[in-house]
Symmetry: C2
Subunit: 647 residues, 2 copies
């Protein structure tokens, strides 16, 4: 219904044909600008209504508890339908006056002045044009407008998605499985990239031998394909896991891996591009160049990590040292502006903004959030959730649309089937060997069934799409883009839809309520030091607890205790009045290290709140009842309750 209205409206808007008489240049160009503005508005309206339709259908599905299709899958279907209508249903007269003129220069200036009837007009370079306009798309102008600049994905749509992933990470389970997650995300993704790259190189060589290839496809292209298609995005699977309350460790492993491997995929693909600048003629693989690539990879990754963390630290310090918490609007705005500036700063410094934003999100959640007022905590979470939802729905409906609106698709059946095989092999080479190695060191083993589910949950999504659409200038890149699109469709619809049956087949525990005893035992373990965490992680916890938390938040022991005596003035200057108060009260600081669950569990929050007693009271009642005032049994209960709330 909504869709139908959209079409009618869209047709009505577009059918108003431009009939330009031989008027003045001014009037013509003004009318043209107006017309262009109207078309842009209509296209934006189209996307808005696509999203609206997605929301309403999502609600219907949720209302009737259908788990067949996630909202991302729905968004893709609506996008697909719209693409079909735009491609085959709408016929717009090409704008004759805009037929291109040709003149010959020997360089490509960024801007150009044209002398027209004695007046100067400025033109700017919008990119290279394909010299053979396709015959099969009668309304290629509209399709071109709908397929807007792919940099929008990187600069507007991905940052909120990645930030949300970092900010909403359930840090308790994330940290408990940190070693495994890092292994899957870093080592595993690199393995998977290379396996996919090598398999595809074999395929491409065979295709080239039998004459199935229509253009160049170098080894570096294969590696690039491996890098972009290795980022998993199990958003569909995780949504179902969440509904069904699947085992928390499995959930944490999948979520953590998918968050961090986005970063790896971006950095890996950009290192491969840096290693092989387009335009240079050598596409072979040399030892020295590999080192350069590796250097770029490590440099960008650590640069993003440092930058994202640094902005997080600054935000934490600002929210700690000022009393912005009395003005939630200002606090929330500052929070988002600082996080957004991480992205911009990283882009301005030529490292990857999206990756910086991820680490910024994690830092903000770990430090800044505990400084925020209860009101702002809620607001930042909700806004981050909303932006994530919007961006995600948009990307997925755009993906559906692109299948028909993009005009340079290269669908090569051999390449497509090859890449389906390659991603299966790549995923298997990530999960099974690493799980085997990890199980040697883990106290709670990753069972075979868990491994099969992780293998199955290797969906591809927004990141693979955004990376592949970024550059579609060559034959190889166009083929990669079309193939990536199909892989995303297939995995989201088939793997996403098959999650529930697979879970029941694999006998995965569902309906897991937080185990109260487990929490308490673990808490005791941490306090007594008999915890199972590896030593680098425990070292980090100690450092975090003794120095970073007291420096950046109101919690933890006072800095004056942990720093050497010579630093006392600094420590006093950075310490908050709340901190000193909190020393008097006996509480298990260590528990907070691993149990820090955002607003629901923060001992420290409850202790500090604010020096204004009334607002502190408000916060206490909003969070769980103050655990320090109660014996251990109700504490356990409140812990488990709040965890249930969170998960």
């Amino acid at each position: 219904m909504v869709l139908w209205e959209v079409c009618v409206l869209f047709l009505a808007v577009l059918s108003v044909c431009e009939c330009e008489g031989p008027g003045l240049v001014d009037a013509v160009s003004e009318r043209r600008a107006e017309e262009s503005h109207r078309q842009n508005s209509a296209i934006a309206l189209l996307f808005t209504l696509l999203l609206t339709a997605t929301i309403l259908t999502t609600w219907l599905f949720k209302h009737h508890r259908l788990r067949l299709l996630h909202e991302t899958g729905l968004a893709m279907i609506y996008g697909l339908l719209m693409g079909v209508i735009l491609r085959f249903g709408v016929h717009v007269q090409p704008d004759l006056i805009d037929a291109p003129l040709t003149c010959v220069f020997n360089s490509s200036p960024r801007s150009l002045l044209l002398n027209i009837s004695g007046r100067l007009f400025e033109y700017t370079l919008s990119g290279e044009a394909s010299d053979t306009p396709r015959k099969d798309a009668p309304n290629s102008q509209i399709l071109k407008k709908v397929t807007f600049d792919p940099e929008v994905f990187f600069n507007i749509l991905l940052p909120p998605i990645i930030f949300h992933a970092g900010y909403s990470l359930k840090r308790r389970y994330f940290f408990r499985n940190l070693g495994s997650i890092l292994s899957y995300a870093f080592v595993g993704t690199v393995i998977s990239s290379f396996v996919i790259g090598l398999v595809m190189y074999g395929f491409v060589a065979c295709m080239s031998a039998v004459g199935q290839l229509g253009g160049d496809f170098f080894f570096t292209d294969c590696l690039f394909f491996g890098a972009i298609i290795s980022a998993t995005d199990p958003v569909t699977v995780l949504a179902i896991f969440n509904d069904l309350k699947v085992d928390v460790d499995l959930y944490a492993l999948l979520l953590g891996e998918s968050v961090l491997n986005d970063a790896v995929a971006i950095v890996l693909s950009s290192s491969i591009v840096a290693y092989q600048p387009s335009g240079s003629s050598s596409h072979s693989f040399e030892g020295e160049a590999i080192l350069v690539s590796l250097g770029v990879f490590l440099g960008v990754l650590s640069g993003s990590l440092v930058l994202g963390t640094a902005t997080g630290f600054i935000t934490a310090l600002v929210t700690k040292l000022t009393r912005l918490r009395n003005f939630p609007l200002l606090e929330t705005t500052l929070f988002f502006l600082m996080s957004w500036s991480t992205f911009l700063l990283a882009e301005a410094c030529n490292i990857t903004g999206v990756v910086a934003v991820l680490f910024c999100g994690i830092t903000q959640a770990h430090y800044t959030r505990s400084n925020l007022s209860a009101e702002s905590k809620k607001r930042t979470e909700e806004l981050s959730e909303l932006l994530n939802f919007l961006a995600e729905s948009f990307i997925f409906s755009y993906m559906g649309l692109t299948l028909f609106s993009y005009q340079n698709h290269v669908f090569n059946p051999a390449f497509i089937s090859g890449s389906f095989l390659a991603i299966l092999l790549g995923r298997a080479a990530n999960i099974y060997p690493l799980s085997f190695l990890l199980n040697l060191g883990r106290s709670n083993r990753i069972s075979n069934n868990f491994q099969h589910v992780m293998m199955f949950a290797g969906l591809r999504g927004a990141m693979a799409f955004a990376l592949s659409i970024r550059d579609t200038s060559t034959y190889a890149r166009q083929m990669m883009f079309s193939t990536t699109l199909l892989i995303v469709f297939f995995t989201v619809w088939v793997f996403g839809g098959g999650t529930t049956p697979v879970l029941s087949k694999m006998n995965i525990r569902v309906g897991v309520e937080e185990d109260e005893e487990e929490c308490i035992t673990e808490l005791d373990d941490m306090v007594s030091g008999s915890c199972s965490a590896a030593w680098p992680i425990r070292l980090w916890y100690k450092f975090d607890h003794n120095y970073l938390k007291p420096l950046l938040t109101h919690s933890g022991p006072p800095l004056s205790g942990s720093l050497p005596a010579c630093c006392a003035p600094v420590a006093r200057c950075l310490a908050s009045s709340q901190e000193y108060k909190s020393v008097q009260q006996p509480h298990d600081d260590d528990s907070e290290l691993i149990l820090n669950e955002g607003s629901s569990l923060l001992y420290s929050d409850l202790l500090i709140s604010s020096d204004d007693p009334s607002s502190g009271q408000a916060e206490m009642t909003e969070d769980t009842p103050a655990p320090t005032q109660e014996p251990i049994q109700p504490l356990a209960q409140s812990l488990s309750e709040s965890l249930r709330l969170r998960l």
Copy 2:
């Protein structure tokens, strides 16, 4: 401090000079695109940090209860500083390769293909260039980048501001003073526009006679100036009113007027442009053309009204008929998408999106909001507030920046002093005669002191700026733009800063707490029909109460009662189950008409909530205690409490 860091960073980013060797076209253009992206990121970062600095200083001012300068004034100062630094402090080598080439055509194509070393590059028209590059700006490229496309204001920044004005309008006082507000906003703004236009025409004629004018300035230009400068934006004044709890009627008059006269200014200025298309040679004023202008004015205004209201109605129906309220995230997203689509739809239909969004905001607040869940009510309000704050701070800091970054300023002292006089006269011609006429019919007179304060509160802000920057192609428009900028600076800093002294000098009541008796009396008046509202307004109330509210929300009498018998099936289809339940309960429906204060007072809301008893319960406790259950005295108390909360 922050500012200093910004500069250092900015310099560091920009000083990396492009040294392009005689490489391949590809590599060069790719590097150039990267460089351009980095510059854009740096500029965006600049604005982000400007906003951050504004937020922190705003907090400092609020913390120390300084009412000298509103955050908008602060934002302007920071923008101004940044403009000075960019203009005089940063020196960037002009990009030599980008020196424009010239070729001669006899039409201005929108896109252009260039054959460069055998490859095609596409160029798009970015506007007319001034043929005499200014000598005094060494880094005009950067300044040009900072001064981005003014359509951004109309398409991105104004909609949230205007929507927020509509959505957060305190409808109780707005409706009580509806007649006066409409008079000031519509009649008054038109009077003011024409007075300003005529005064300026006199000035311009004199200036032309003594040779003070450097270019053409037609009568239509004068009228256009009158239209754009008549929109008041007393955001500073109202913020102080809010802090000081100034008399509610004065507050309502000023707020209502400033919200609606934005719409009038937009429509009026665009009718004048439509009346006089640029390029046509006649600039005189003819009878027929006035009628055309009037037609455009009324057409666009009513079109926007209908469209905005229609989208509001659709949203209300969707939220009423579905159970989206169980999923606040979906509900909130839908709400904003629908509101945003109003804007796009209006733009696509060639009427004014900003005006449509205003009426949409009012409709959403009046109908849709009472269908939303308590959670979504809060979320939509907070998000609208946040977007408004961001957009407003951005516009004002951008204004400060433009004073130095814009390169075609025309500061003409005679014109500037003339326009200061004109806006005073225009404002006086709006307020005093209309107040006199209104006082003839009003039961509570608008006192002389009130009139003086309204005269004083005629600040100019975002709307005047956005309208004046939209087109700066001619000498006349450039002079208007520069003058508008100065008027905004002056009024925001001087009038905004002088509010508190003026209030005390005029003996305006401050610290007004809601008068409990007044509320009750008014409530009784409405019920008994002896209310002082004029008959068209009472007629509207009846219609709203008997038909619109039951149709679009869960409140009011059931439709089956008010509609004729033949419409019974329709009525039954549109009625909600809640509605039928609510009939059983005795409550004063009429009171709700004028006392409907969003979530805080809705009898209907309390009655309907949801058929899920638990969520209904939650909502009751979140709002005021259910008044229907209590005797009249506590009801009065709860009314006044909730009003105090709201205002």
